[in-house]
Symmetry: D3
Subunit: 337 residues, 6 copies
């Protein structure tokens, strides 16, 4: 199996239990997550070694995050300690027509986002890692973090490792300049990446590639090869999500490689916790690639993993490959005993 | 914005969490509610000042109710303290084909229902209030409370305020005499009211107006104008509820004013907590009227507020007008972040 | 072993968990108790058959009480169903110098306190019972309940059973007339009773027997024989409680029979839940008497049972005789494993 | 009403609350159940007297089980105490496409499964029981238990009582020999039974009766009379379950007696807790038989009871006959108040 | 009664329930507090009107804080909404020899600490306020907040109101410059203040007044009059705390006015939650002063309020004057019922 | 820092929260512990690498144990998966004079106790380990486990590692033969051990060394050197515990090495959770030895660690060396903020 590292922020998730709002309740459940956490934990559960490259404060809150990462099966030997704070977000569950709400605390002041590049031994990390996972959320933070991210990606690439970049464009994080401000950084990352998680919207809005005239699949088939060509990307993958009238969601995964597209079946399912599903899909793609599975098997596995991620408590989905495969077989089973 | 007062009982709601019955469980969640509480809290959230006119015991239980009303945003400066008890009800959640159950304690002995008229300074209340909300549940309590209710309504009316009356006929509260016992009191209230929450069933069963031969809408269109004419009512409004086979509910709101009916779309939605939805609808009507919105806008707003009230924990729904409007736009959105 | 019945009210205890007040909290733990419940449950745990003679409402709340009594090991075959309500009390825990608070709901409207004498088959009960337990709290309720209580005591006595009466004078329940109002009823009960739970204060305040000039033990030794003589009581027993500066309590039990007093050691201990300790002591006395233990053994057992009752959650203490004996041996042991 | 005893194991159910897995959570809800527990508790709620014939350890865990059985309304006077352990199982709830999981502890070492026959006074039990309930799970345990089971069935039969046997074949419990190992024991039990809970699959797989070529109803109509004839069974009954794409389940009950089949409507419903539904159905059949209801009424009642059992927390469903009848009437009602 | 406003930050308190650490647990209890919150809530409970002058974010977290302040009885009509974040702190309870731990999030980025002076209408606030409460924690935040604080104090003073300043020096907040950096600001505040909460340590360390040679009381008697003289302070008050070997704390309050000292008895008590006790003492002093109580009565009341604050859950102690007086009478009472 | 492995069972601890008994409650908190778990986790927190050598079932329960070990900071790469069950124990908290209770499930059938020696690669383990921790509880299990334990100890010793053996004699585990049955195995282990956790009682009862005539310290000073001499033990260490009348405990640690004894101060403290304290002491001894601290520093550290272990939730105490040192300095500090 392989060594996968993710560079990114660890956030504390503070969730109001049940369906109360923050103004109604008095209790919170807390856990620690983040795109990199979700991906490295999922890959650890598939049998790989997942490492977080991040900075956590040397406080009881940071200690709690360390324990939680270990519990998820993540190797913490590359975690740096320093700074003062941990990014946090509050989560209020929605119900039916009432949407859930996410409220962030000031993540720009977090240990990760104020950490100096010297916190990380880039050369050492690069030499011990087969795959590096990066994400557009990290790219949106600040110039210093962006610089660390790009230099780490370059170091891994030079050392013979692969770079996975998840576009994950969040408008709220880029502020007024929006796509224009983000574009040069995205282009730089795409040039560094071997595998890219994206869809036709990323292509259109971030990169200006694509056309809005046709259906989403047509657009995807037009835009993705163009992006791959322009930036020298080996593999692209992503999902289309539909939210149905009965509150179920549907997910269709795709993967593109060597001029070929493969699509998963459209999977429809009930949703317990929507957050982290994209990371579960990405983990499935990375695992399939590392195992050398055929494209169709990889995208099926990744879509099923994404689906299962909607059925678990918390951002981070931990399933064995066997469990994912069983979910794909599509029989809603009776309780097993 | 306006000053709205509600005269009515504050009850303690004791709910078994989850789906256990009282015989199975060992814990209760408690909160404080009541028709007047729900209406004045909702109107406070819309930006008005909501006052409860009620009596609470001067005990730790009464103190807890006071705190809770304040938390809901209700002004408690018109609350009288005295008597010994608070009305309570136990709530066991149903699941699917198993119905929920409500068990009342003896509310007739409550501070509110044993309070003397001298507990309230009717003149002072009347002078400070733009709208007074009253409800058929209060009307069912006892002769003393009925007398207080009618005199307060008359005082508000004389001082230039408006009276809103919600028919809310509960058979269990009127005992053996049933409609016959209730009718004279309902007629008195309708004569005092400017705005009435009702539908064709209220017209038929309480007042003997209407005909059972046709569909509900036809009956409504026949009965409501007749009631309005007979009692000099300015505005009537109400809802039709359908309970669907898949456990969703559907709600259609109507409003009638100056010989004109407006109907909301039929809204269909999943239900978390059904209690208090009628009060949320009434609050929307009162708010629309106070803001001078067109009839269609008012009934749409009220119906959406009623729908949202089914998605919250507890009897009392607190939404801003912006949140209600967003729910009306009918897109089930992904989590916002 | 014997059949012991208790005639009395079953109340619902609604306790705020931890140290929050009702105004701060949002959750309650509920259980069902009462003097008779505590005594019959404790005696069941000692190996006897304990029966409640009471009336519970035929509602989900009454069903929950029935389940709870069964769980405690009480035989419910003599429970009558009817009426509307269950007496309830709220309990807020104190901490250190902050005292706990008890708030009652209207127990006079409870099923037990509004039940007609025809609810109980006095003859059948009398014939199946060796001991009947009654308490001064029940005596304070209303004339109808008092009448039932006295007639049941007489019936048991006539059928050859023994009557235990616990004075348990609660000033708040007797209102303005106070001792004067209570005295004739207490005298009637004392005439019916074989065993009486009391101390010198009961003698002095209720019966006007005793002198305030000397220490409590002296007063006790003066008053109790006088009461026993006057009312033909076979056995008297009770406790002296001291509350120490370090929040521990001390308990000394006494028993009087055939002109002889026996006293337990003064037991000092930490307190988790003070309510129900008197009933645990009474149960120990009844059990010792039924087993024919020597006076010293009986009062030691009863005092240790009373002490242990302070260490359990809830009003009702369930200990085997072995466990009580072990507590008497006075070694605070390490955890057993 | 009648006396029904069940011979079988009482297990401790340890359920992770909500939708967390054992690896995610830190809390468990516990209760005590088992096929016999579910049946005797349900029949007690219908008004009969239900007795468990089992062995529980004389430990705090065994005491907790005793309390729980009493709370369910079961008579524990036939329970033997001894041995060391209680069988346990962990339950993790599934969500949507993610199945629930059951993990057993070593039940073969439980007090029940290591108890000697001398623990039970077969003659006394037989003489006090109208109906004895037995189940295929118990039959799978070990030779000693099987022997106790058969001798008890024979004793009840000889004393004029009826024997109900629920086939309940669980492959995991019979290990490698599978049906072949189970068959002789099932045949012995069928010879002893008056009423058998089974369907065509039991007939085919356990007994080798039936043909897979046609639909399930056809098979059922072929196999059940054949089984009844061969083993001299008076009544056979059972259910067909379908799991629908929207996560609802459908249940169709059947009963066969004197060459006649009666089928319930197919009932479709949402599922809260699937475990124990078969026992609720069996209880309905036994109750209908004891009351002498017509076949159609019995099977309708049993199917509705089975449906309701899916809507409650825990394995054991407690409904009055009135509540079951109301569920049959098929109106999803609004909250009653 | 009077109008008291406090200018200061509202913080979110996130407490691990029980005795687990953040690394062990998964749940938090949350509430909202702060020095000003504690003081204005306590004074509201004494019958005054308490106003917070602060800025809260216009987010669900800010809404929750608003609800909580209302629940505490605080008037929120002077609260400004804006900025992005709320200051937060995590609290892990200690046990015995293991100390509790407080971990702050970045409060400098909070709405309060980033709010512009234009957020507050100083003139309007000054005209409606009898007493303004300020605290050394706020003084430590940043230059902008200090400027707002001083201008608001000056405005209140000019409008005829009184200024109360609680020294509350927290070394961690002033960083490297320490006392030297703080001194000029403290001197400015002392010049503006009518009443000052302080003790001899504040005098010595912050102002350089006092001598370390003698006992604390001697130092206090030397330093406080000197501070009062130098800065023209009318009233000074404060406490001495001792932490005893048995985990109890002892508190002695003092007040100084017109060359006279009054001291409370030394109160010794068990501690449930130590945070907020100083604010409870300050509230007692302010209340006594506003009521014109004799010095001895005021300091006794304040010390008892401080003691009681250690017995409640959360930072904010809500007691009526009657409850505080009862605690002073020093009898540890049995449960009242 | 060093690599420490512990060979032993991982048990699931099922604790009734608060002070309810199993018969009263309905919820359990679960965690995973064991002597080896406690030691390797504590040493990991001191900065070493701690490995468990054990077998866990390949079930969701085993997965939960794996996650929990990782969370504690234990390296799980030497854990074998197999077998069917996990040993479990139920824990009911005592209160004051009421003792806590521990109830075990059948641990002899656990994965660890039924695992074959081939589950472990003794040579590989031995080569990677500096210290091996073993315990008398494991020694009591069965012949196969004993054999594994001894062969692993020998392998580690041959590879140049150190062996720590904690006598931990539990009478209940050795059954009827008692000391006589245990003695040969203890002697074998003592011959293999470099460091032994023991006191004079172990010497006397297990080995027959020592004399009961004198005080415990005198006995200790007589017996320990004799044991060390006879078995060639380098270091012996242990504690004397006293349970005081006020429910506090006192602990005095000793260490013996090269004919020298060092004793810690007697530490007295309140107790939250007594289980696991001996393991915390042992961890302190091992850490001090590995760091080459003077004897006095080592025993002080170990005793303070043992004391702190009584203040935490759960069996496993995680403190940094800095935290332990701070506890030694003996100032009960105010909350730090």
């Amino acid at each position: 199996m392989s060594n996968i590292a993710a560079f990114g922020e660890v956030m504390m998730r503070l969730q109001v239990p049940g369906y109360e709002t923050l103004a109604q309740g008095s209790k919170l459940n807390y856990s620690f997550s983040g795109s990199g956490v979700n991906v490295t934990a999922a890959l650890s559960r598939y049998g790989h070694s997942g490492y977080m490259v991040t900075t956590l404060p040397d406080t009881p809150v940071g200690d709690a995050a360390m324990s939680y990462l270990r519990k998820l099966g993540i190797d913490i030997s590359l975690v740096s300690r320093g700074g003062k704070h941990l990014g946090m977000y509050f989560l209020e569950n929605g119900f039916g027509v009432r949407p859930g709400r996410v409220t962030y605390t000031d993540r720009l002041g977090s240990s990760f986002n104020t950490s100096a590049e010297t916190s990380y031994d880039l050369a050492a990390i690069a030499s011990s890692v087969d795959v590096l996972h990066l994400c557009g959320i990290t790219l949106a933070m600040n110039e210093e973090v962006r610089s660390q991210m790009k230099r780490l990606a370059a170091a891994v690439k030079n050392a013979g490792g692969k770079v996975v970049f998840d576009c994950n464009y969040r408008p709220a994080l880029w502020g007024a300049p929006g796509y224009a401000g983000a574009r040069p950084h995205y282009e730089e990352m795409l040039n560094l990446a071997d595998t890219v998680m994206m869809n036709e919207k990323d292509a259109e809005f971030i990169l200006g590639i694509g056309s809005g005239e046709y259906g989403r699949i047509t657009q995807l088939k037009h835009a993705v090869p163009e992006v791959a060509r322009r930036f020298g990307i080996q593999t692209a993958a992503g999902t289309h999500r539909e939210i149905n009238a009965d509150n179920t969601h549907s997910l269709t995964g795709y993967i593109y490689q060597a001029d070929t597209f493969a699509f998963s079946r459209k999977l429809t399912f009930s949703v317990h916790d929507r957050i982290g599903a994209g990371d579960a899909f990405a983990s499935g793609i990375i695992h399939g690639e590392l195992q050398g599975y055929p494209l169709q098997q990889t995208v099926d596995l990744a879509a099923a993993a994404g689906m299962l991620a909607h059925t678990v408590v918390g951002d981070t989905a931990l399933f064995t490959e066997t469990e994912v495969r069983r979910a794909l077989s599509d029989h809603i089973g009776d309780v097993e005993r």
